[in-house]
Symmetry: C2
Subunit: 317 residues, 2 copies
Amino acid sequence: MKILITGGGGFLGSRLAKALLARGELGGRKISRLTLFDTAFPNGSPRDSRIEATTGDVAQINLSPDTEAVFHLAAVVSGAAEADFDLGMRANLDGTRRVLEQARRCARPPRLVFSSSVAAFGGKLPKVLDDSTVAAPQTSYGTQKVLGEYLIADYSRKGYVDGRSLRLPTVVVRAGRPNAAASSFASSILREPLNGEPCDCPVGPKTGVWLLSPRRVVEAFIHAHELPAASWGAGRVVNLPGITASVAEMLAALKRVAGAKTAARVRFKREARIEAIVKTWPARFKTPRALAMGFRADDSVEAVIRDYIADEGIKLA
Amino acid sequence: MKILITGGGGFLGSRLAKALLARGELGGRKISRLTLFDTAFPNGSPRDSRIEATTGDVAQINLSPDTEAVFHLAAVVSGAAEADFDLGMRANLDGTRRVLEQARRCARPPRLVFSSSVAAFGGKLPKVLDDSTVAAPQTSYGTQKVLGEYLIADYSRKGYVDGRSLRLPTVVVRAGRPNAAASSFASSILREPLNGEPCDCPVGPKTGVWLLSPRRVVEAFIHAHELPAASWGAGRVVNLPGITASVAEMLAALKRVAGAKTAARVRFKREARIEAIVKTWPARFKTPRALAMGFRADDSVEAVIRDYIADEGIKLA
């Protein structure tokens, strides 16, 4: 089968690609080609005969008509979409629409997994959100993700694609460097200290984060694809499970795993622009729908940190 | 002030235009120009020096930079958007986006009232919907209306427009001829008998309709415009009040107002295509938000019928 990952050069896309290549199959069918599409591949792409890496603008992407599976992860992140409205609309709305229109023209309606976000929620929220909470995004990024969800639901209803949208918690710990996402701090406060670097935390210690590790996210993408359409019912969106942790709790877990000296590398240097975005995101959810469908959260922040250390081959001092 | 009505040649748009011309002002400011934009003006446009009637494709509309008020009513209706997906996407999504992009380029952010629809709701619904019910449209028309709402909310948050979206109940009684809306029957079963014509009703007598008269809808458009931004809060969408009536109750009201002979002109001839769309629409709501904001419903189906008879100058036999 032929698979496309948009955003295939990014952090989650490249990890998903590796996981798919390692499995060799998806939904019981052998993977013959894995196309990675992105604006750039700063870290290269896997050396594998099944891989095809293509650069371009997602709003102009062309799908091979025999594409059977799409993981649509390409996006301009929250901070960047807020700073440049037109850029966000082009990548996140026009891009998603282009992917859907191309998928509609495939030989058979592809199964499509879309990475939406907890940024779908905002405004006046209950203390604990659940599967009936109305999406009311307070950022352009969140709005564009919700628009994508509704488009995918209607394209699925029409039979043009078989779509599944996952509202991702904040992904922690992201490897690499900080990015323009307003949530970038949630990884930085763990990653930089583990790399022996100082880190300025732009939000206060009580700030809550609803988080999921890269391992669980990649599992969720694959699980979402493999679930039969009947498991989704009329609703094509699911809030993924996660765990709630405050910045203070994350730093305490870091201290337990890596020691006081490492945790002490984080200092608070609050930034109003970041806090203004992050405070609109919810931190507590009940996710019975996702759990019933077989999605799962991490066991603890400590487990998340240990997985990161193992995945990145970090040696603790 | 300069006002634009998209869909200004349509049933609601032309009535709104007449109401605005008769008032002469909006929000306490004198109306100097009223631009009506539509694909066609089959019934002409009001003869008034303030009127400018323009034909075109809403997805290519240009707004005069001194436009201060927009009523965005132009849409491809539900049945037509379901039959021709691309046509619906162009008019209802691209059209709304074009209006917003043009509004963003005005000298000052215009106040914009958008006619959304009860078709935003569908799927598994509570018996009585309320202001916290999640939009889950089961038609492309409904999806496109929800996309418009989210776009308007974000353009408003960014300060590009001052937008207000009204989810209209089914408008009863529409004058004129049946149209391609799946809800067309709700007016036909009252209008055709009053005009001395037979009518085939495509849905069963128990079918419930959440309805609002053209008089109340036009009032709601103007009221929505005149409310200060603070009345809307972060949410830019409101479910308008209405009344619930079954087809049988509507025919009973018709009989009381216009006699048994008139009501007997309706026969049931069920159509699966129409029933499949209409059954996804909810019929019962609680609308505390709208009522608190000063929107109001009709008193009864009989009052709706009497208003129609008065507005159209119909003489009962």
